[in-house]
């Protein structure tokens, strides 16, 4: 299942940031993938200007389609999903793009985030992008997709990138991409996610053994009410 992932680009020197692109576009070439590419390009410019290095890895959801469906019906996560999960754990930011189908994000896109651990994106800065054939879908990101990322406790950049067919030739759209990349850059550079997790991690809901958990048993809170009950105590 290596085809789902591109090799990281960029060199390693100076301060380094890792961006993961999650792309639910299915055609090749895909305007949805192109949208993500343009965000990464702008983000790379920002990093360069600040003397930092940026590596971007792409997760193509098309290649994980079967695993996503299997995960939804059985809870079993395949090798590709496990690898995607490990990439996202270490990501400093996410660029997540999807085509719009029937006035919603592709089921592939929402399904992918549904099968991942719920604490995987806590505090992670995200730029959301969507492409559609008509501008009537313009509010899909702000009206629908944001709520899923709010549930995941990620930090979605204020500017979302919706592109209907006519937007591709509009110079204003290039400005919007620059704007969104600029917002994402500040969120990355401030290391908001790492600082949030360092100070606030225990206040979020976690599932035992999630990809985001540290993997050692120190994380298990032995002093909770339930643990007292487990060891012969009472709730009352």
């Amino acid at each position: 299942m290596t085809s789902a992932f591109s090799e990281p680009t960029g060199t390693n020197e100076a301060e380094e940031f890792r961006v993961v692109v999650v792309n639910a576009g299915t055609s090749n070439p895909s305007s949805t993938a192109m949208l993500a590419d343009r965000v990464v390009e702008e983000l790379t410019n920002r990093a360069d200007a600040n003397g930092a290095k940026l590596t971007a890895t792409v997760i193509e959801l098309r290649d994980l389609a079967q695993e996503i469906a299997n995960g939804l019906v059985t809870g079993l996560r395949g090798e590709g999903l496990e690898r995607a999960s490990r990439l996202i754990v270490d990501a400093d930011a996410l660029v997540a793009t999807t085509p719009v189908y029937k006035a919603e994000a592709s089921g592939l896109f929402s399904g992918f985030f549904q099968v991942l651990d719920r604490d995987l994106l806590v505090g992670t800065p995200v730029v959301l992008g969507a492409t559609a054939g008509t501008s009537r879908h313009a509010l899909v990101i702000d009206g629908q997709m944001r709520s899923q990322f709010a549930y995941l406790r990620s930090l979605v950049a204020p500017t979302s990138l919706f592109a209907a067919t006519e937007d591709w030739n509009d110079p204003n759209f290039a400005t919007r991409i620059r704007r969104a990349a600029g917002e994402l850059w500040l969120l990355i550079e401030s290391r908001f996610a790492a600082r949030l997790r360092a100070t606030n991690w225990d206040t979020y809901q976690h599932d035992f053994g999630s990809a985001k958990s540290s993997g050692d048993n120190d994380e298990i809170d032995l002093s909770s009410d339930l643990m007292r009950l487990a060891t012969g105590g009472s709730l009352a």
């Binding site: 299997n70 019906v73 053994g209 048993n217 339930l226 643990m227 012969g232 009472s234 009352a236």
Partner: protein
């Protein structure tokens, strides 16, 4: 190391013939399955508990008692007993009774049950599933260890001067396994009481269950029941075996593809690669089971789910035959060679009796005449020591009297 068969008691359409067995056929069939389990040299038979179709096993102790009567060696257990929706008092009573009629050849595994509608049918709330499981076990633990229990909790009406009858066989409570794959509180409770921990990890990659098993081992040691190696671990599993690997895949595939839990999802190849499901030749299945040991270290019980996915009874019996006669003997021998001498033996009633009493006399609880209350006064039971002392005194008095008469 004990090997055995576990059933969840589903009544599932056979996807090859299109026939769905009746409940009657499945219930008679499961007794055959249990008898076969003993006949081929396996050690344990477990049955689940459900309270909704398409499952038949709502009353595991009744079923297991019937099996106990028709077998001689087999250890009978559950997979699982619902510690959430059952009254712990009824669990204490029913399983103590089973323990007596089975001459100690039983234990039980506790689980929460994940069928949401079942909870309200028994007056419970699934959102309280975990606290219910923990509190109910705390009570069950005492009911089997104290002749008279005074108790108050959140979920059940209080008990004042209650005695659960019959007292456990030889006054040694049935061994308890706590089943869980991702709930640290359950592993902690198992460790706290020195009970067994069972991971039915059949739907997930084995590595996922390892962390909780290791947590249980650490906590078992922490609570002073022995070293980590002496903790008591059981694992679930499932297998489909044929003489040739490709036959195993082709025979099992139509059943797997439509199985209620994972059917229409991952392919048989993907699923058997990613999870403990072992499909293949005898040697391949042996290797897969030995792989569990490499991951988990010495463990005490390995159960296999075989009567599922609509497999007809004759195929299930054939599978148990292959498992018992070709796979397990090799695994047993291999694991015996690898076994750390420090690791715990598999739990049996005899072992628990020896642990409690050593060579000393075994308590046999005998109730006193009914005095209408358990609250005032001492134990409602004559203690073994008292009984023995009284008998000895009587015997001595009698022989003394006889001696006197002779003189």
């Amino acid at each position: 190391m004990q090997f055995g068969i576990m059933s969840v008691s589903d009544v599932t359409r056979n996807p090859v013939t299109g026939e769905t067995p009746s409940e009657a056929e499945r219930i008679k069939g499961i007794i055959e399955i249990a008898k076969k389990t003993e006949e081929v040299g396996l050690d344990v038979f477990a049955v689940g508990e459900h309270h909704n179709p398409p499952f038949f096993s709502s009353s595991p102790t009744t079923l297991l008692a019937a099996i106990a009567a028709q077998t001689e060696r087999l250890i009978l257990t559950t997979s699982t007993t619902l510690i959430t929706t059952n009254d712990p008092v009824r669990i204490a009573e029913e399983y103590a009774m089973l323990q007596h009629v089975a001459d100690g050849r039983m234990d039980l595994m506790l689980g929460r049950g994940n069928t949401a509608p079942v909870y309200p049918w028994f007056g419970q709330d699934i959102r309280q599933g975990l606290p219910l499981a923990l509190e109910n076990y705390n009570l069950l633990h005492r009911l089997w260890r104290e002749d008279v229990v005074n108790w108050q909790g959140k979920f059940r009406t209080p008990l004042n001067g209650f005695t659960s009858t019959p007292r456990p066989l030889d006054d040694v409570p049935p061994f308890v396994w706590h089943g869980s794959i991702r709930t640290p509180e359950i592993a902690e409770q198992a460790a706290f009481y020195g009970n067994g921990y069972f991971a039915n990890f059949i739907f997930w990659p084995p590595e996922h269950s390892l962390r909780l098993a290791n947590f249980y081992r650490e906590r078992f040691e922490h609570y002073g029941h022995g070293t980590k190696k002496e903790a008591i671990v059981g694992l679930g599993g499932q297998a489909y075996i044929a003489k040739k690997s490709q036959d195993a895949y082709s025979e099992f595939r139509p059943y797997f593809n439509e199985a209620p839990v994972y059917g229409n999802g991952p392919s048989l190849e993907q699923f058997s690669q990613a999870t403990p499901l072992a499909v293949g030749s005898v040697q391949e299945v042996i290797d897969k089971i030995l792989g569990f040991h490499e991951l988990f270290g010495d463990y005490q019980r390995q159960l296999f789910l075989q009567d599922h996915a609509g497999l007809p009874l004759n195929m299930v019996l054939d599978q148990i035959e292959l498992l018992g006669t070709e796979v397990v003997p090799v695994v047993r021998k291999e694991l015996e060679g690898r076994r750390d001498p420090e690791s715990a033996p598999a739990p049996t009633h005899e072992l628990l009796v020896a642990k409690k009493y050593g060579d000393g006399p075994v308590r046999q609880p005998r109730p006193m005449a009914n005095r209408g209350d358990n609250v005032t006064g001492g134990s409602p039971y004559l203690d073994t020591d008292e009984v023995t002392a009284k008998r000895e005194a009587e015997a001595a008095a009698k022989s003394g009297a006889e001696a006197g008469a002779d003189a």
